[in-house]
């Protein structure tokens, strides 16, 4: 199956195969070129076309029959090669001879293969090397104090662009004869029509602007310079986009792998199930997150390539659309997930229990945090307050959530006896759920021989999941009692003023006398 084109050749209508059409148009263009020195070329071409039409209609039996490339070849054999149209005439012969002898290359700018102004491509042709090497030299020179830029601009101005076929051929170093011109025309065939359209447009414009011709040429030069400068700028941006896009892809990929190794995969313990309110597995969420962050840089790279080259094969349209759809789904997924997650953390409930603390005036209270015997085997990070949580198995192999979100506050009272208040808190979808969770927080302390040992941790059964469980311990001491806080309380009473904590960081390991709303250091060196 072949595509055909309908043509009007000298007033006759023909169906012609696409390849045959290209062949024919190519032939006519070559013929036209071979008669450049002739007067009335268009009239001759019209006659030739009329004859070709006649020959076509002799060769087909009905108007339904299609002109094939075989027929076109036959016609070309009858009509002769483009050279045959060239009537020998002295002047023409001489010029041809001159050109044929002059196979020396000339330096032109190659605008067809230009990256910026075609200087590199032109130099490449002239020295017979790939333009890439010339460009690399430019880049090196740019780093060498920017001489490359200046040199480039100078060469740009000095070297003429290769516009005509003859110039293009002498740029390539080929002798200028009709076969070569024809070859050149064939090569550029794809652009021939476009080029012709441009020329006619230009001619029309010139007619319209005939009066403004002089000023026009100046502004044309200026605007073409500016547009090339703009193109250069665009290309620099394109390179930057590609670099940053690739960098982003690499870093996110690496970070996801390290996260997968150190952060999430704790063997035997499924932490995600404690936070996760949905039944979505963590690896799935990881993939979704990866998709969300890795697709935008891909598009950035694509955009960069697009700026460097008008057509990029890096991502075709279908791939782009699919990527965009995948990305949108991933983002939507994350949003839904986050909302569900937030819903399960919506309500917060507190459970408070206050006990007497047998500390009176002039008693000294030693305050310290105590470790969890089982858990401290598993981690170095004990006696440190954090919002983080871990899962561990107790001696009965029950899975427990272990957290160290313990806030310690010291206050004073006018009563004669001290007290200790333990307030547990948790979050949940409803207040009831939150309250149930708060009640299920396990937290304890011991008081023995004036020493108050507070747990540095809270635990709760794994069934209750992690819902921001926390404990606030308020130790209230009567006036004129003395407090001696162990150094390990440091992080637990690191509070903002809003918590009204009398004990300040740095006052540990000192005997502090309780006054109303302040602590007086008894053994500090001023």
């Amino acid at each position: 199956m072949k595509k055909t084109i309908s043509i009007n050749l000298a007033g006759l209508f023909f169906h012609i195969d696409e390849d045959a059409y290209n062949q024919l148009q190519n032939y006519l263009a070559a013929v036209k070129r071979s008669m450049q020195n002739e007067q009335g070329t268009s009239e001759i071409i019209a006659d030739i076309e009329a004859r070709i039409a006649e020959l076509f209609s002799e060769r087909i039996s009905s108007s339904q029959q299609v002109i094939t490339s075989k027929i076109v070849e036959d016609i070309i054999n009858i009509m002769g090669q483009p050279e045959d149209y060239n009537i020998d005439d002295e002047n023409h012969n001489n010029t041809t001879d001159e050109h044929t002898n002059n196979t020396n290359k000339r330096l032109f700018r190659d605008k067809e293969n230009a990256f910026v102004g075609g200087v590199s491509a032109g130099l490449g042709h002239y020295f017979g090397i790939e333009a890439l090497w010339v460009r690399l030299i430019w880049i090196l020179l740019v780093f060498g104090l920017g001489t490359g830029v200046l040199l480039y601009v100078i060469l740009w101005c000095l070297i003429p662009a290769a516009n005509t076929t003859a110039e293009k051929l002498s740029m390539m170093g080929k002798p200028i004869n009709i076969t070569n011109i024809e070859e050149q025309v064939k090569e550029g065939f794809g652009n021939v029509k476009e080029h012709l359209d441009k020329v006619t447009e230009k001619v029309k414009q010139q007619d319209l602007n005939a009066l403004q011709n002089k000023s026009r040429s100046f502004f044309e030069a200026l605007s073409s310079f500016l547009s090339i400068l703009f193109k250069l700028f665009i290309k620099v941006i394109g390179i930057l986009l590609i670099i940053s896009g690739v960098f982003a892809i690499i870093t996110t990929t690496i970070s996801f792998f390290t996260l997968g190794i150190f952060g999430v995969t704790v063997p035997g313990i499924e932490i995600e199930s404690l936070i996760n309110t949905t039944s979505v597995p963590l690896w799935w969420m990881t993939v979704v997150l990866l998709i969300t962050v890795i697709i935008p840089p891909l598009f950035i790279v694509f955009l960069g390539l697009r700026l460097l080259k008008t057509k990029s094969t890096f991502l075709n349209k279908k791939v782009r659309i699919s990527l965009f759809v995948i990305w949108s789904i991933a983002v939507l997924h994350l949003v839904v997930f986050s909302v569900l997650q937030l819903v399960d953390f919506k309500e917060k409930a507190y459970v408070k229990k206050i006990n007497e603390l047998p500390v009176t005036q002039n008693d000294t209270l030693f305050l310290e945090m105590s470790k969890n015997a089982t858990y401290t085997k598993l981690t170095y990070r004990d006696l440190f307050r954090s919002d983080d949580f871990k899962v561990y198995r107790d001696d009965n192999q029950n899975q427990l959530i272990y957290g160290s979100n313990i806030r310690l506050i010291i206050r004073s009272t006018n009563d004669s006896l001290g007290s200790i208040s333990v307030e547990k808190s948790s979050r949940g979808k409803t207040y009831e759920l939150a309250k149930e969770r708060a009640e299920n927080v396990q937290y304890g302390y011991t008081f023995d021989e004036n020493t108050l040992k507070l747990d540095s941790y809270l635990t709760t059964d794994i069934a209750h999941k992690f819902r921001d469980q926390g404990v606030e311990v308020i130790v209230t001491l009567p006036k004129d009692a003395v407090l001696y806080a162990n150094k390990n309380t440091y992080t637990f009473h690191r509070n903002y003023d809003i918590h009204q904590d009398l004990l300040k960081n740095g006052e540990e390991e000192h005997f502090l006398k309780v006054k109303s709303n302040t602590l007086e250091c008894l053994d500090c060196k001023n």
Binding site: G11, L12, M35, D47, A53, M79
Partner: protein, 123 residues
């Protein structure tokens, strides 16, 4: 004709020479074909090709236009029974005179050439 001779002196390659000879007398032949009656391109081509004067058709088109531009030929459009209108070429008055001149030159040239070549073979 002067052109023909000049070209003969200039390019002595066989193929070239043959082509130049043919092309040189082509103008003369075209005018001769058109002498009895006007004709359109296909008819001129037929006559010339039958006489093996012409190998490829392409050569004739620039020649026709050039002869027309120099006022030796003129053409008129004539409806055709099968297709679009055809260009019928004919000799102008100056074309007829020119052809007469060419005829005499050609005859002189022909006899000169035959004398020269016959002398050569006799020797």
């Amino acid at each position: 004709m002067y052109r023909f001779v000049k070209i003969l002196n200039k390019n002595m390659k066989l193929e070239n020479t043959k082509a130049q000879m043919r092309k040189g007398v082509l103008e003369f032949c075209i005018l001769s074909v058109l002498e009895p009656k006007d004709a359109y391109v296909a008819e001129i081509l037929e006559t010339l090709k039958d006489a093996k004067m012409l190998v490829v058709e392409g050569t004739i088109y620039p020649l026709l236009t050039r002869l027309k531009n120099s006022g030796l030929l003129q053409y008129r459009w004539e409806e055709s029974p099968t297709g679009p209108p055809r260009k019928y070429y004919g000799l102008t008055e100056s074309g007829k005179l020119f052809l007469k001149e060419l005829n005499t030159t050609w005859n002189a040239l022909q006899s000169a050439v035959s004398i020269v070549t016959q002398n050569q073979t006799k020797q």
